[in-house]
């Protein structure tokens, strides 16, 4: 019986356990969010805690640092930091642990930074608390730190406020703050989730390098296996507050035992899925369903005394493309590149500045008033956030029926109910859901309802605006399957807006890469993903974390 890899690792550095957690339990009121978990983090290693949202991984980290709200009940057999028990440290001493010995990075850098303090102050603060810097020493120190986290022109930034920085830079600031106390352990709670792919890569890179330099341990918390695979030495998988599997990375990807781990692995979308996909039969001479010509959405910038329009924000700038009946066009791009605007523009939710949109023969954006209302059934939209996209005060049945009521007023109640029932069946929900309220459903189910709602009016084209990005990996896959199935059955076309290239590979026939309001590359999936032409596309592709093997 030979030792597994991770057992070997344990053997090797028994003595240099940095953090030792035994039987940690966190409970809010009655229900346990973290249930008696134990794990160790060794000096200098990167330890990843993986799990889907609500699995209690962040709570674990916070509980170690006693950052949970008072209504949380924390209990543990022991938590040792360098063999010193954290549990027995009184509150007033504990602030010597936080920031000094354990640093913490949060998911959303925008909200995690104090909006009314300059970043200089915010970093300096940490130093003031933990080391006795003199005034003149302080600024250079901050300066150094900023350089360390690769902030361009730090001398200027030092006096700026968070909102003046880009998302990536903010996250760097967060890191700087965390590093300011020269911690032994750095906890990174979903450090990149809120960022674009390309930025993600840079941040991770930064973390790596810093860790190398300082030799501190990194405790990475994430839901993204792919990302983890590139970073971590060891992985622990959490599910419903329990650690179900723990082991070295390679070992984990090679021979994960626990079914949940396996499920996670299976759900991982992979880029090569597009290559081994059979091409849809679409004869090219058929007139396209959607024909967009030099489509523009500008937002005016008003200045001066009478708010004259001096310039425009070119959200969507002269975009043209076609989409064939029954096919899927993926619109890829980073946040703020105008893809969502384009989507909404097509659905006529926001006024278009210029351009023709020919949707099976009709120019929607030329119509208005009641005419427009009637024709709306042709094109529908599914939003990103399944929680915000349904009126919490309406029954699911009514939500789905709403469109029918509005556009096919001829249909009587009985038929309508029948129709709703069918739709629910199509999206694989029990008929009984019609009489329940949105908040009773999980994210995935809600997204299904949204799809049903869209389908209700028998559209030719559905704009899917990041339909999966708010969902957990395992659920993502299901939704995508559903969409594909529906396409097969009903021949709807999708305009699939996403930033996740892996998903694109799964679902799209064609891909259009959008950058700064323009389409920079457009073509068949395989070709775009395998031999990208445009440098931007390439950078996108490079940034995608792929399973390290």
């Amino acid at each position: 019986m030979h030792l597994t890899l991770d057992e070997q690792i344990r053997e090797n550095n028994v003595d240099n356990k940095l953090l030792e957690v035994k039987g940690l339990t966190v409970a809010f009121k009655k229900d346990k969010v973290v249930d008696d978990i134990s794990f160790d983090i060794f000096a200098g290693e990167t330890f990843a805690l993986v799990g889907e949202s609500g699995s209690g991984k962040s709570i674990t980290a916070l509980s170690v640092l006693r950052l949970l709200p008072n209504n949380a009940k924390v209990s543990a057999n022991q938590i040792l930091l360098n063999n010193e028990s954290l549990l027995s440290i009184p509150e007033y001493d504990f602030c010597k642990i936080r920031g000094k010995r354990i640093g913490l990075i949060f998911q959303d850098p925008m909200s995690s930074l104090n909006p009314v303090m300059t970043i200089g102050e915010q970093i300096a603060e940490v130093m003031k608390i933990h080391f006795d810097y003199s005034k003149e020493e302080l600024t250079p120190a901050v300066h150094k730190l900023l350089e360390q986290v690769e902030i361009p022109e730090p001398q200027r930034r030092i006096n700026e406020f968070p909102h003046q920085l880009s998302g990536g830079q903010r996250q760097r600031i967060m890191i700087a703050i965390a590093l300011a106390g020269k911690p032994e352990l750095l906890i990174a709670d979903e450090p990149t989730t809120a960022l674009d792919v390309t930025i993600q890569a840079q941040i991770l890179e930064l973390l790596k390098t810093i860790q190398k330099k300082t030799g501190m341990s990194l405790w990475l918390i994430s839901h993204d296996l792919a990302l983890v695979s590139t970073m971590a030495d060891r992985i622990a998988v959490m599910q419903k507050g329990k650690v179900v599997e723990i082991g070295s990375t390679n070992h984990f990807f090679k021979q994960a035992k626990h079914p949940y781990s396996l499920k996670l692995l299976a759900a991982l979308p992979s880029m090569d899925s597009c290559t081994n996909k059979e091409l849809k039969k679409i004869d090219n001479n058929e007139t396209p369903l959607l024909k967009v010509e030099s489509f523009k959405v500008y937002y005016p910038i008003r200045k001066g005394f009478f708010k004259r329009i001096v310039d425009h924000v070119r959200a969507v700038d002269d975009v043209s493309f076609e989409l064939k009946q029954g096919s899927t066009l993926a619109l890829v791009g980073e946040s703020g590149c105008g893809k969502t605007t384009l989507g909404k523009g097509l659905v006529n939710l926001i006024p278009t500045t210029a351009g023709r949109v020919l949707l099976n023969g009709i120019e929607l954006n030329q119509l208005n008033g009641d005419e427009l209302r009637q024709k709306r059934s042709v094109i529908q939209i599914v939003f990103q956030d399944p929680f915000a996209s349904m009126n919490p005060r309406m029954l699911v049945g009514d939500i789905i029926a709403e469109g029918i009521k509005a556009l096919h007023s001829d249909i009587n109640l009985v038929d309508r109910q029948q129709r709703v029932a069918n739709l629910l069946k199509q999206v694989e929900l029990p008929e009984s859901s019609a009489l329940r309220y949105p908040h009773e459903f999980s994210g995935g189910q809600r997204q299904r309802i949204c799809i049903a709602r869209a389908l209700a009016v028998e559209p030719k084209l559905i704009v899917c605006d990041e339909p999966t990005s708010a969902l957990d990996v395992s659920v993502q896959a299901q939704i995508i399957e559903l969409l594909q199935k529906l396409q097969k059955e009903q021949g709807v076309s999708y305009l699939f807006i996403t930033h996740n290239l892996a998903v694109v590979a799964e679902i799209a026939d064609e891909v259009a890469v959008m950058h700064k309001g323009k389409i920079v590359e457009h073509g068949h999936v395989e070709q775009v993903l395998t031999q990208p032409q445009h440098p931007y596309t390439q950078s996108l592709l490079d940034a995608v974390p792929v399973l390290a093997d």
């Binding site: 916070l62 000094k100 930074l113 104090n114």
Partner: protein
Amino acid sequence: MIKYILRRILYALPLLMGVNILSFILFFVVNSPDDMARMQLGQKHVTEQAVQNWKHQHGYDLPLLWNDRASSNKKMTETIFYQKSIGLFLLDFGVSDSGRNISEDIKQRMWPSLSIALPSLIVGLLVNISVALMMVLFRNSYLEFSSIVLCVILMSISSLFYIIGGQFFIGKLLKLVPISGYDTGFSAIKFLILPIVISVISGIGSGARWYRTLFLEEVEKDYVRTARAKGLTETQVLFKHVLKNAMIPILTGVVVVLPLLFMGSLIMESFFSIPGLGSYTIDAINSQDFAIVRAMVFLGSVLYIFGLILTDISYTIVDPRVRLS
């Protein structure tokens, strides 16, 4: 910035016009110029002739809104409304119906009003904030609970009770301060203490409670968690981070009312017989001195709008995220 303010001021004009019209209508629906004349001339031996004279002297012998008899272009201008309004926009309030220069009076009565309103605002602010901070600091402890209850109780007592009680105990029984009155200069203090104290106390209930909710909202934000993660102690977190952010709504809220402090507080002033603008207004209403009422209304709305502008500006000052354009 300057442009912005200018524009706001331009926008204010139609508002003031509306206010002016409204107050005008409200007043003349219930009062005819004759009424005013009689009111002003007193009660004994008021002859028609005298009334006519008075109206002529004070320019109330014109039609209200529309003058048919006047020549074409004068149809609008030869009316009470026009004649009385035009001065306002130049902030020249003219002479009151009882024959005193209004601007003079306002200049004079402004200070008593301020000397009550301003201190009570500032002290009140300090007291409320400190109480609120206490509550947040000791949150979900018996202390917070009891102080919340206390606040609600304080809130549920009519301000009249505070005033009557204060006058009775501090003024009458304890003889610590004069019961009422006012004096110029330094010796005014002893008259002001009681009103200020009372208005502060009567304010604590609602004020502290509101600030508490503001603070709590901030406390739940992420950056506070970051601050803790940095290793700041609870007090440091509160004073360095929470207070700083919570002050934004508080300050801007205060700024709105700042200009209106000139208008004084009706009740306080009439209870303690302090010759401020508040009592000035009330007297004017009672003695139906339209000139004063209109002037005060106009002044009030000007100050109100001024307050709104100030608020926007103050936002840009205290909150780096906000830019005017």
